[in-house]
């Protein structure tokens, strides 16, 4: 079934494509998070803007990626920008909604106490609201990262220069179905997604010890 010879001859290529896959996904999530944070903070401060922002992110999510690639190639050519624009767009709907939900979830009495003790708007946001939104923000990042790692594959349709591990899947398909090559693309991609998710869970435990206190108490008693 598996062509070990092919695998042995393509170790370097697989390593290169794995790195490319991570790189494309990391840029997409990073840029998507930065844009989402700005949009969410605007929406949180000016409540009337939230429905249109949320709706726009939702509409962007519905645009088929292949159509978007075709349209973008005429503007940005076969560049990394063409690959990243759809990936970034698809992270927005998840991240904006989760960040806003995280900010909304801060209890009213905590905000009242923060105001009553003399926090400025900015101090309240950075010292109280955002830290308390971290669990939901990280939940959004996990979802966005896993889905982006899956989506990087389709950037291979722009050109062979992109696609990360998806290159092997597409190439194997075009050869009339070469299972070894398709596995070589799919399996590492799945492992990347699982690994990234695991790292986020670990990171969240580190930065939000307070959210684990109930669990800690349960183990202590």
């Amino acid at each position: 079934m598996i062509d070990w010879g092919w695998l042995a001859g393509h170790v370097d290529a697989i390593a290169y494509r794995t790195g490319q896959h991570l790189y494309l996904a990391a840029i997409a999530v990073g840029v998507g998070f930065a844009i989402s944070l700005v949009l969410a903070l605007v929406a949180a401060r000016r409540r009337v803007l939230y429905p249109p922002i949320s709706a726009l992110a939702g509409i962007l999510y519905t645009i088929p990626s292949l159509a978007l690639f075709a349209a973008l190639i005429s503007i940005t050519g076969f560049s990394v920008v063409t690959a990243e624009v759809p990936l970034v767009m698809y992270t927005l709907v998840i991240l904006v909604r989760n960040i806003v939900a995280g900010l909304d979830g801060v209890p009213a009495e905590v905000l009242e106490a923060a105001d009553g003790m003399g926090h400025t708007r900015r101090q309240r946001l950075w010292r109280v609201e955002l830290p308390l939104a971290v669990p939901l923000i990280v939940a959004g990042l996990r979802l966005a990262t896993v889905s982006t790692i899956g989506l990087v594959t389709i950037t291979g349709t722009i050109s062979d220069a992109f696609g990360g591990l998806g290159y092997f899947i597409l190439d194997g398909y075009h050869r009339g179905g070469f299972p070894t090559e398709m596995y070589a693309g799919a399996l590492p991609s799945i492992l990347l997604a699982l690994g990234a998710d695991f790292l986020f869970v670990r990171a969240q435990r580190r930065i939000t010890p307070w959210a684990q206190t109930r669990a800690l108490e349960a183990t202590a008693s």
């Binding site: 905590v110 106490a113 923060a114 003399g118 939000t208 307070w210 108490e217």
Partner: protein
């Protein structure tokens, strides 16, 4: 820095109003809940002023206008003579302690960090913030070594509210605003927290504005009580004894309740009324001599004390032996032990519980000071007995 050396502010409301724009103005409709109508009162430095009234009477609005969480639509509020409207709101709030019913601790910060919130906003050095947080945790009865590094979710409701009080005191503010601070804890914890706040206040002497809907809490906590009515009107402002003895309106009389006579009992303490002497003898005293003395007294019991004058219990006249010495086993400890700080209300309640007519009053070392009878309490209740006069008057001595 010492927690005892503190300043207190004077708060003046001058014709303060807050009107809320009604969604649909209707003629003759009652004022919007939370509205305040021409409120004028002065809270002297170092006193607890309780704003009390039914929900929607504007008491919380009145409180929040002091630290500008709500802005008045008319009049002005002066703190130490300075109009708060002219102050920067965040700066002002850092100088005023603020305690709310739901506490509002920051869940993502340790207890130590929560207490040091205002010092951190004021950019105190980190070491001083830590030191101050520990000092205040100890002050409110939470062992710093145990609580400092915990998170709010690991504390009980009562412990959290103590942290809330410690947090409000952190920057040693001359004024504290407390909005139903003990409204969310169970009655036993509430009573304990009330007593602790009174103990703290005896030491700190802050000016405290305290909001509650509970008239009993108002009477217990307030040096001054402001009774407010729906529509944000001040109905009566004065010491609790005056409000109970002479309600200014039918509304106040109804609000303080038909049992306002009984409530006055909670304003007087055992030390405020004259105690009665009682025939006593010590363990080991000759019984015959004691028997003679107790039969010479109309009260038919002898109170037996130990060698240090601490009460052991009663011996009925008829059971005092004619000879030999008095032994502890002869006495029955039935009466409740009271001290001078026990309120008359608590004293009466303890006497009723024990099904006796007298309570034994002891001093701090447990030695007998005298006896308090139900009759003496009843005398304090008589309409002509102004509780203020009782409080100022006779220091009981006897026994």
């Amino acid at each position: 820095m010492g927690v005892g050396a503190s300043r207190a502010a004077v708060v003046e409301y001058q014709h303060v109003s807050k009107r809320y724009a009604a969604a649909r103005p209707q003629r003759g409709s009652p004022a919007a809940p939370g509205a305040v109508n021409d409120l004028s009162l002065t809270v002297p430095a170092g006193k607890i002023c309780v704003l009390v009234g039914p929900s929607g009477c504007g008491k919380t609005t009145s409180l929040k206008m002091v630290n500008r969480l709500i802005e008045p639509t008319g009049g002005r509020i002066l703190v130490d003579g300075v109009d708060v409207a002219g102050r920067d709101a965040t700066e002002l709030r850092r100088e005023i302690g603020y305690v709310i019913q739901q506490v509002g601790l920051f869940p993502h910060q340790t207890i130590g960090a929560n207490v040091a919130v205002v010092p951190r906003l004021l950019r105190w050095p980190a070491a001083r913030q830590r030191e101050r947080a520990e000092e205040l945790l100890a002050l409110v009865g939470l062992e710093p070594a145990i609580y400092r590094d915990r998170y709010p979710a690991q504390l009980s409701g009562g412990e959290r509210q103590r942290v809330g009080v410690a947090r409000a005191l952190a920057a040693d503010p001359p004024l504290m605003l407390m909005d139903e601070p003990f409204g969310a804890v169970d009655p036993i914890v509430r009573e304990r927290l009330q007593n602790e706040l009174l103990r703290l206040q005896a030491e700190l002497a802050k000016t405290i504005l305290f909001v509650t809907h509970d008239i009993d809490e108002a009477i217990k906590m307030g040096d001054l009580v402001a009774v407010m009515q729906a529509g944000g009107r001040l109905e009566q402002f004065g010491p609790p004894a005056q409000i109970l003895a002479a309600p200014a309106s039918a509304f106040v009389a109804e609000f303080v309740g038909a049992d306002r006579g009984l409530k006055r009992l909670s304003l007087s303490r055992v030390g405020d009324v004259a105690l009665q002497p009682v025939v006593t003898a010590r363990v080991g005293d000759p019984a015959g001599e004691a028997r003679a003395r107790t039969f010479a007294d109309p009260f038919p019991y002898l109170l037996l004390l130990d060698a240090a004058d601490r009460p052991i219990g009663w011996i009925s006249q008829r059971h005092v032996p004619a000879s030999g010495v008095l032994e502890a086993s002869l006495a029955t400890p039935m009466s409740p032990l009271l001290d001078r700080r026990t309120t008359l209300k608590d004293a009466l309640s303890m006497m009723l519980d024990a099904d006796v007519q007298t309570g034994i009053v002891i001093d701090r070392t447990g030695r007998l000071r005298g006896v308090l009878s139900v009759e003496a309490i009843a005398a304090a209740l008589r309409p002509d007995a102004d509780p203020g006069a009782i409080a100022a008057g006779t220091a009981g001595a006897g026994g």
